[in-house]
Amino acid sequence: MDLQLILFILLSAVAIISALGVVFSKNPVSSVLCLIVTFIAIAGHYILLNAQFLAVVHIIVYTGAIMVLFLFVIMLMNLNADIEPQKRNWMKYAGVISGGVMFLVLLAAVRDANMPALSTTSTDIGLIENLGKTLFTTYVVPFEISSILFLSAMVGAVIIGKKD
């Protein structure tokens, strides 16, 4: 068994166990902490796939910024089990059944799928230099057009946030 496989199994186990922890823990704060562990484990997967830049961004943005935001929101809202809205039982069952069916279908598909897009030959494909080159040559148009998206989101934030 080579090192890569051992690392992969280890990271996957950590990711799955902590993801289950997110769902099953009663306390929202420990849910968020579990989510952080999941994100770090997934960042490890990115490194195994030669996507170093993505891994770094994933840790900075998700584990850093967004999770801190999550924790702040939870602290400010002062959530606890007493004020949690009661969910009906049939809703839980419906959720479990539809989620399980989706899981089965995805599992069946991935089992006999082949993935031509994955290239393991070059090790520097995920470095920031290559990413930047692609972003500013092949994908420069979507990159520029997304500025309209951000501009409209900013206009919206001002409209909603401003006092009348």
């Binding site: 598909a109 799928a113 148009v141 997304s146 309209i148 998206l149 501009l151 919206g156």
Partner: protein, 458 residues
């Protein structure tokens, strides 16, 4: 491509107009001029086409007669919308110029839905036309229903965006490209991962066009949003969603025996949309909510264009887009001037305002699909496309039955206007408004008699 650049720039211009122009009527006139400019700029693009269509901007967009015609329909419908409903913007809130700017940004997203040739552009265009809508839905900040509509739309829309991205990622994983024509999903054996990707993309787009069972957000959002913005969301934006749907499924997921994998799923979605939309609309008390359900029902008819997979379907969906958008914008323009949105609120309108009642009747008949209106030929074309396709006859029968049901709730408004006693009235009907209504009704009638005028352009 001109249309994309002009609408995006006009959005920025309108944003700054709010700073310099204090008179709200003037802002409306600037927006109307802007829409006219975008319309002309879009037509100028016709010169750049050679043959079937030409790829521009690193092959990300494909400018063709199809995309230019749809852009013309979308921008033209927006122009009508500005003229008919523009004065109602100032009743919603203070930031009139910003609302116009957001609508131009939505238009920028719409111009890409008929022209994308890369899945990334599809994703960005769907997002550009969604995010300003979340804001417009919540523009009436003091109204709790408007807040609810905005939040609900935002949360549900974000989930469906996630599903869309997941679908795109799976298709990329299976094919190694984002380009819709290079994918060549039809040749060889289909990768199961691509199949799931197609299914997820179909679900996400069904959400955006509010097809059942992904329609639950529609009545609440359309009912809660300020009426003037509902008129835009339910018409132009919804038609754009269908154009994206059509282009993706006709161009990319159509080769070989691909369509056999998704056609039945979409046919079931269509049947559910038709039945749920039409039968729920029957039980509504408020005309605004009835129009929300009717937009679900009309979505069922437009889905025929997606599943039929022939040239007739493309023509049908174009005519449907214009017939449905223009008719619904007209009805909403009249509804905006009413005090009472219930069916009873229309009682006796024909006595007070015979002209307004007459054009309202024309719009409602077009929506119900009565002959001599554009709605009839639109329904006729999409249904005959399905018959030509062959194995969808059961669906056509359901559709015809549902069209008969839809006549019931559209005619309830007409009966209220003509045959019931009441003192319904429309406020400040200016001569200009009457002229605009007349032009809108004329479009519906002319396209109902000579649909070839539009169809020969594709």
């Amino acid at each position: 491509m001109n249309a994309l650049i002009t609408t995006a720039l006009l959005g920025v211009v309108l944003m700054f107009t709010g700073l310099f122009v204090k008179n709200k009527q003037q802002i409306k006139y600037i927006a109307i001029l802007g829409a006219l400019l975008a319309f002309v700029a879009n037509i100028v693009d016709l010169q750049t086409i050679s043959g079937g269509g030409s790829k521009v901007l690193f092959g990300m967009l494909e400018v063709s007669h199809f995309s230019i015609l749809f852009n013309a329909i979308a921008i033209g419908a927006t122009l009508l919308y500005f003229i008919l409903c523009g004065s109602a913007f100032e009743k919603v809130g203070e930031h009139v110029a910003d609302y116009f700017a957001l609508i131009f940004f939505i238009l920028a997203g719409i111009t890409m839905t008929g022209a994308f040739s890369n899945l990334l552009i599809l994703f960005i265009s769907i997002e550009i036309l969604s995010i300003p809508q979340y804001i417009l839905a919540g523009a009436d900040k003091q109204n709790l229903k408007s807040n609810e509509a905005s939040l609900k739309y935002f949360l549900m829309g974000s989930f469906s965006t996630g599903i869309l991205l997941m679908g795109i990622a799976l298709i990329y994983g299976a094919t190694g490209t984002f380009n819709v024509t290079e994918m060549a999903l039809g040749t060889g054996e289909l990768n199961p991962m691509a199949l799931i990707g197609i299914t997820l993309l179909g679900f996400a787009l069904s959400f955006k066009v509010s097809a059942a069972p992904f329609h639950f957000w529609t009545p609440d959002v359309y009912d809660g949003s300020p009426t003037v913005f509902t008129a835009f969301m339910a018409t132009v934006v919804k038609a754009a969603g269908f154009i994206a749907f059509l282009r993706l499924f006709h161009v990319t997921f159509n080769g070989g025996n691909m369509s056999s994998h998704w056609q039945l799923v979409l046919a079931i979605i269509t049947a559910a949309t038709l039945i749920i939309g039409n039968f729920t609309a029957v039980f509504q008390i408020s005309v605004k909510r009835m129009l929300a359900y009717s937009s679900i029902a009309q979505a069922g008819f437009m889905l025929f264009g997606v599943i039929s997979l022939n040239q007739l379907a493309v023509q049908g969906i174009m005519l449907y887009a214009i017939a449905y958008s223009v008719g619904t914008i007209g009805i909403f323009a009249i509804l905006l001037k009413m005090k009472d949105y219930t069916f009873d609120g229309f009682n006796g309108l024909a006595k007070k305002q015979p002209f307004v009642a007459c054009v309202a009747t024309i719009f409602l008949m077009s929506l119900a699909g009565i002959p001599l209106t554009a709605g009839f030929f639109a329904k006729y074309l999409v249904l005959s496309a399905a018959i030509q396709q062959g194995n969808l006859l059961w669906l056509v029968i359901i559709a015809v039955l549902c069209a008969a049901v839809s006549a019931y709730y559209y005619f309830r408004v007409i009966i209220a206007m003509y045959f019931k006693q009441g003192d319904a009235n429309v406020e400040n009907v200016t001569p200009g408004f009457k002229v605009a209504l007349f032009v809108t009704a004329a479009i519906v009638i002319i396209l109902g008699i000579f649909p070839g005028l539009l169809l020969q352009l594709i």
